[in-house]
Amino acid sequence: MKPLDETYAAARERWQALEASGIPVFFVGTATCGRAAGAGETLDRLRAEVRARNLEALVVETGCLGPCSLEPLVVVHKPNAPRICFGKVGPREAVHILERHVLGDDPCAELALGAIGAESVDGVGAFADHPMLRGQVRRVLRNCGVIDPENLDHYLARDGYRGFLRAVDIGPDAIVEAVKQAGVRGRGGAGFPTWRKWDLCRRTPADQRYLICNADEGDPGAFMDRSLIEGDPHAVLEGMLIAALALGASRGFIYCRAEYPLAIARLGVAIGQARTLGLLGDNILGSGFSFDVSIKRGAGAFVCGEETALIASIEGRRPMPQPRPPFPAVSGLWGKPTIIQNVETLANLPLILHYGADWYAELGTEHSKGTKTFSLAGKVHRTGLIEVPMGITLRQIVEDIGGGGADGKAIKAVQTGGPSGGCIPAAQLDLPADYESLVAAGSIMGSGGLIVLDEETCVVDLARYFMTFTQDESCGKCPPCRVGTRAMLYLLERIVAGDSTSDDLRRLEDLAQTVNRGSLCGLGQTAPNPVLTTLRYFPDEYRDHVEKKQCAAFVCRPLIRHHIDMERCPGCTACVKTCPAEAITGVRGEPHVINEALCSQCGSCLSVCPPTYAAVYRVSGEVTRYEERKSKAGAAGVSAQRAAAEG
């Protein structure tokens, strides 16, 4: 085999030159979430400042470090000083850091999240001790936010493709054995042991086998695969190479959703680089193994996450699932044995091959090995992309890493597994995050979407939300799913509209069982899960909707009435001006009144009524809710306290 020693040596040299750079380096996180938060403007400003001031400095783009709520993130390397990670760096903050920290000697502690690889510097603690990072073990995400994803040298210098080289050395049988020893299970949701799927495929005689990387991250509320591809695309390619070698597959496809243009672009760059280096193509590095990859862009259909539907989509047909068996591992793409693996599963393989199965299996539980990435979002204080050892508790994830409920509100439940998963109530937060425990609680691990719900989330509305989604995405092939999800949605819509009867809850549960048992594919079989878990854990909330026409979370509009408290309203006209239905009347200085007949209960008045008055209140069933009235000084005091706690 053609050795890559010289390539590695050159890559390491260039990487080390950057690591120990004699000139300042700005690493700007420009993954999709960073850009959404304004990283593009920060990047432009930094480049312009460096040019305008004639500075000798580098500006490097990286992927996502994880703490998305603190984006844009910029890591600053100043020669002979520890690197510091700064959060919420807009263009103005970037200039501030440039002037005060890089050109001066103030580490800008007020903007710093932590020092990287150091205990502390001048009042800046270690980044690893930041509450969002403590408790995480970043293995799969080790390069995200650290390297330039479009620079192959960076990936190589950090032992990139060494797992694949090892795989070539030991050969297919030993690769499968290592994957079996490591105990890795599919990260796409179901958690099927990876080696067993491979084994079935390998035992099927064929002249051609295919490998597909499923990057059609369709679960609403999940963005692990996007971040991983955007931050470290070569890790996915290396995983594909290892899997293809084990399977004897010569062609691979990456099926990526079209909503992820940056991920697709970065994969394209990575594939080009791998081809140039001879890591993709014919007779790779002289090993006799040939493999190449092409990208297939999805076109917006959730059902394509299902294996047989995904295959149909690549073949250019309507993505309708097929009954199984035959399993794709036996007869898949164009009738050939085909293995479909999720992005994260593939990115685990280089680690197993390079560091060994024992090292890999050190983390996790008996049946759930390694780490799992989660996209932490919803009503949680710190949102972002995290990676934790399997088996740590949901409480550790949402309270320690996530910092508890957003705005200090109590957490009501945690939703895992997206539209196929369920809601786990706050009382069960000590549940370990592993495949078996989550299934036992009525949910699933899923691909890693983890949405936190608080008292202002109505679980009945959430169940309706998911049913709207699955009903819309049902492909229509089998009646239990096509008709059943529609009928379930109809019942849920009646409940949130206050038009339901007490019989509806029983009907809903019956239907849920039928849809679960009768549907052809996973989409329909799991579609009732959000309804079943909320019925199981929050029966009173359903009953309140049905019997009292009450939504205590004040979400279900038809069950809410907005009113203005005459005693509190000074007549500031803020609500009059903003009401889109023009339902509020009143002149300045006199209490305003909402005309019930015109009001759409949209809540605009509530959102603009100054907290010092808090004159708009809501009623639903037996519950009346006033917003907390804050004096001006009090409100400022609270935010100052929060800022201090953030420190």
Binding site: A37, G218, G221, I314, T383, G418, V608
Partner: protein, 169 residues
Amino acid sequence: MNGTETHVSTHQVLTSPADGSGSGRMSQEHLIPTLQEIQERHGYLPEDALRALAAATGVSENEIYGLASFYAHFRFQPPAEHTIHVCQGTACHVRGGHQILHDFEERLSIKAGQMTSDHKFGLERVACVGCCALAPVVLVDGKVRANMKPKLVRGLLSKLGHAVSATDT
């Protein structure tokens, strides 16, 4: 519009060697990528382009329409001048994404999936754009606007040239 040009391009795509199937003739595998290419060029799938594609592939127009209409991304009418996609992902939903959608609907006097009569604004739902940590988000002409709030809807629209008084009544 220029059906011939589309025809030439689809023809080129379709006569390149088929991947995987190994037959080397025009392959069904290229249908979706070709439809994506057509939509990128025209902003939608014009009827004459679909007809040209049917002729080039031997797949019936019916079947091509059946394929394209299955997917959420393909559209059969020209897009509006500005398209606003309101994310309906789970994180956006629990952080008020439905409220944002409702506000856009009220301000523009259209429902999701429709466009204003002057073709200036199109309003669409999107299942999830994967920016969940910055929810709720909307896409304005493809660019993500993070941490959206109901009270920002009006300003966003007027910045794009929406006459507030005309449709607010």
